[in-house]
Amino acid sequence: MSLLAQVDSVKAEALVALGDAADLPALEQAKGSFLGAEGRFTALLKQLGGLPREDRPAAGKSINAAKAEIEAALAARRADLELRASVPRDPADFTLPGRRRPSGRLHPLTQVTDDIVRAFRRLGFAVADGPEIEDERHCFDALNTPADHPARDAQDTFFLDLPSRPLLRTHTSSVQIRVMEKQAPPIRIVVPGRVFRRDNADATHNPTFHQIEGLYIDRGVTLGDLKGTVEAVFRELLGDDVKLRFRPHYFSYTEPSLEIDFTNSLVRKLGKEWLEIAGCGMVHPKVFENVGYDPEVWSGWAFGFGIERIAMLRYGITDIRLFYENDTRFLAQF
């Protein structure tokens, strides 16, 4: 048998022996019996010197190739056996529940507020804010709602037991006055915030609730501008299929005043044609005069609505009190 034939035959035996090794010690033993100092493959290498000189390069090449092949098989087999040796003794049941990490949530009112704020900001509005403890001037008088005006009835007010007899603001419109007193026009702000009315809590009332309103004052602002912004905000908030309807109404601080109804597939699912959602109007010239703006030069609009109402519509929530109970199983749903 030629040397090359022997190399082939020993290689084949070696590959079988490596493949048959059941564990790492058996593998090492198999390695020794072929590649060790006394191994059968090593013995073949030693015969190389006995070949004629011209045959040596070719034979050497094929022996080296065979050796590399055995070593590669050895490495592969070793990796395979090492992996098997490290499989855990107790198998994992992947249907068991995972180790959960606590995951926090933003309050649904925060989420809705931020969505509304984002819609306004996209149109160039800055977020503004004012105190929740107010005086009659900012909450009523400067907004053209004098004492004894029937419109004050609709907003029953909490007063504070302090010498100056302050009150809790009944709407975010007080911030209009605060901002106009401090800043010169033009003004473009959106005001989210808490407001308070002396209503007993029930499914649709809570003494504390949230409003948001936009105010835009500039030269040449028109009712058409108001409609355009209202539509842009509500399309972003309620989806492109929303339809709006503007109805003349009355607010003491706007003239003309409008109420806004909307409809979309959700409203129709509720079996209604329209749902009232917001109030708006052109800033009353008297309000401008009250803060020292010239109504001949400046015009503007204001537009506001309740945040709870939007959240209730969006999520199908039927009781406003859920927002303030903070049951974590409620909060985790949004």
């Binding site: 529940p97 180790r99 990490r101 606590p102 926090g104 933003l106 309050h107 925060t110 704020v117 160039g124 509005f125 800055a126 977020v127 503004a128 804010d129 929740e132 403890i133 005006h149 029937p150 419109a151 609709a154 909490f158 007063f159 504070l160 037991d161 302090l162 302050p166 809790l168 003004i187 002396r198 007993n200 003494p207 504390t208 835009y216 028109t222 009712l223 058409g224 501008d225 409609k227 355009g228 842009a232 503007f246 109805r247 003349p248 109404h249 009355y250 003239e255 003309p256 005043s257 409008l258 109420e259 052109m282 010239p285 008297k286 303030y324 903070n326 049951d327 974590t328 199983r329 909060l331």
Partner: protein, 824 residues
Amino acid sequence: MKVTLNWLRQHVDFAWSPDELAERLTLLGIEVEGIQRIAGDFDGIVVAQVLSRDKHPNADKLSVCRVADGRGERQIVCGAQNFKAGDKVPLILPGSALPPKPGDAQPFVIKVGKIRNVESHGMLCSADELGIDPEAIGHAREDGLLLLRGDAPVGQPFAEYLGRSGSDVVYDLEVTPNRPDLNSVIGIAREIAALSGNPLRIPAAELPAAAPDARPAVAVRLEAPDLCPRYTARVIRGVRVGPSPDWLRAWLEKVGLRSINNVVDVTNFVMLETGQPLHAFDLDLLAKVDGVPTVVVRRASADETFVTLDGVQRTLASETLLVADAGKGIALAGIMGGRNTEIQATTRDVLLESAWFQPTNIRRTSKALGLRTDASYRYERGADVGVAEAASRRAAALILATAGGALDGPVVDAHPEPAAPRQVTLRNHKVGELLGIQLPTEEIECHLQQLGLRPASRRPRPVDGEAPGAEEPVSWVIPTWRVDLKREADLIEEVARLHGVDKIPSTAPRGAKGSHPYDVVHDHLMEVRRFLVGMGLVEAQGQTLVGDALARAVNADVIALANPLSSDMDVLRPSLLPGLIDTLRHNLSRRNGDVQLFEIGRVFVQSGGQPREAWRVAIALTGLRAPAFWSGTDRDAKCDVFDAKGIVEELAEHLGIRGMAWTRRSEPTPFWVESATIALGGRQELGQLGQLSPVLARRHDLRDPVILAELNLDLLLARRNPSRSFKPLPAFPSSRRDVAMIVAESVTHDAVLAAVKGAKAGNLESVELFDVFRGKHVPAGQKSVAYAFTYRASDRTLKDEEVQAAHGKVLEALKAGVGAAFRE
């Protein structure tokens, strides 16, 4: 305000369906909040005329008739014998039901059908089938069809023929407080007239003229003309007080008013029709001056008492306006009449009042007495001073018609200083400027005229100076009923309403960009919220109004409400913690015991009587630290103060805030069993953190330790430092030395760090606490603490001797500084 379709139709024509009318009113600014259809008696039954009567081909006792029903002709098969062609008879149309009779299981509905192979499209009715007694309506009792009067119009609804109310639609309207004129049927009809262009019909109310020399039967003296500038009085003698006629009773009942008697019902009817409240007195019960009953309108004297119609004795104030006779009060002006002059069955002579009272005064009295009536509702919003006499005339005519009697003397109309009609100037170009649409002058002026406004004057066009064609501002005379029209913007709104807001095109957002200092604060608040959500906390939003007891346990400077609704919501929250405790209780009561929350919100305290508002962030933890799991030794671990502290530390690090100092309160407080105050920069108090007193916790049904923290968010945001700079990653290896030592219990971690810092050891990169132990092999009053010290240089690998030398200084400092005894 309730009105009915048929009532409106008395005053204006319109071709809209009931639903269309609702839609139009709503878009005009009169929101229709409810529509109620009233089924009338005898619906679907009309007056028909028999045109021909022929014998039925297949039945001897039946005839086949052609009848006219007002719309066309139809064929009817009939079994009655008592009629001929030309007679008028009741016809019930297919689809309608006969009036139900007692014992009927279900209504008998007439259908198109064949009777012995001849089609019949309805049924001619007998009195019996209609359930009426023919003699009661002045008809002969006949065997067969009910034969109607020959002059009855063909097609007239049978109910109308009988003088009974037909079907109607009742609208419930939301009238805004600025439009008192809409609290009347005519007011609503006027809006419909303006919108449709059809004329408004106002009943003429002709009265027999008084003799030219007739003296007034009553005298009126206005002693408070500021509160009552106009008072009209009429006297009707010899009335018979009794039940109202059916039509009057039906009109009132449909809009929710109870019928009382003919005289009182007329005053209510005219109030609904015109918006003008009226009152009728029994004239004989008024005191006379020189033989003439005299009405005095005056302020009450302080503490004067008066018994109103409802039988309640009322104590008046000096600003209460009283209608009186020479001696006593007879009516609480504009609110309610007096019991002493009430119309009764025996009343013969009636004094009819129609006046105008000052709105603010009426409102104050009504509020002070807690007495609201249909009259006060209208007066406090502003009645129409111009309609007072006409409404009185209308009421007098109706009283004469329904209760009989005769007028005595001319009307007394005390109105010493009629105000000149208000005028408002409108520059037509302003309409376009505010609405964003260009309307022709003709349209603007047409709309205003349709509402009853009249142009007073046009400013003469200047000869030069202005471009030709420059428009002239028009001064408009405002009708007395429109108390809301005061300035240019109000007129522009009227134009917008009648033009239709839906026809004003929307303009895409344009113009100035906004700015406000709070804009960035909003972002910072959202950043903190999102960060805490990332820490696994759920955001809560608590009530601003909380109960006094728990609030005071947190802060004594609470602000109380002057008019709270309930004792559990009677102060403004001085801290977010009371609300969070309430929230924990709510969750626990619903068996939701593992809760980790935060809240960001405003709190309110007073200092020296002045309120202060501040932003706070608070954390509340109770129950299991980690979500439930089925393995592991830590799975039952409950939240402790270090859970909360870890969150606070993460937040501070995220905001770039350093230098928080924690100081344990040496004694428990009623609120905290163990707590620390947190200071920033050594001085400013940032907040507090600790465990709620278990006594308090149990009072709120909380069993597990309740861990709370609250921080001053204004301060936190003021110190926010978002700047970050890159530090190269370590290039050389570090050396670590672990030290376990025993120190006194009183030695704090901060003290250890201070001692280490004092050693000024070179290349000390970090100090990390990894164990605190008390118990076996540690003497009482002491504790074993273990720290890892890491040494590293940024430019080379440290030699062992260098580390040893630096570490030796640390150990010396610990021995000297905190009395550490090192364990081997």
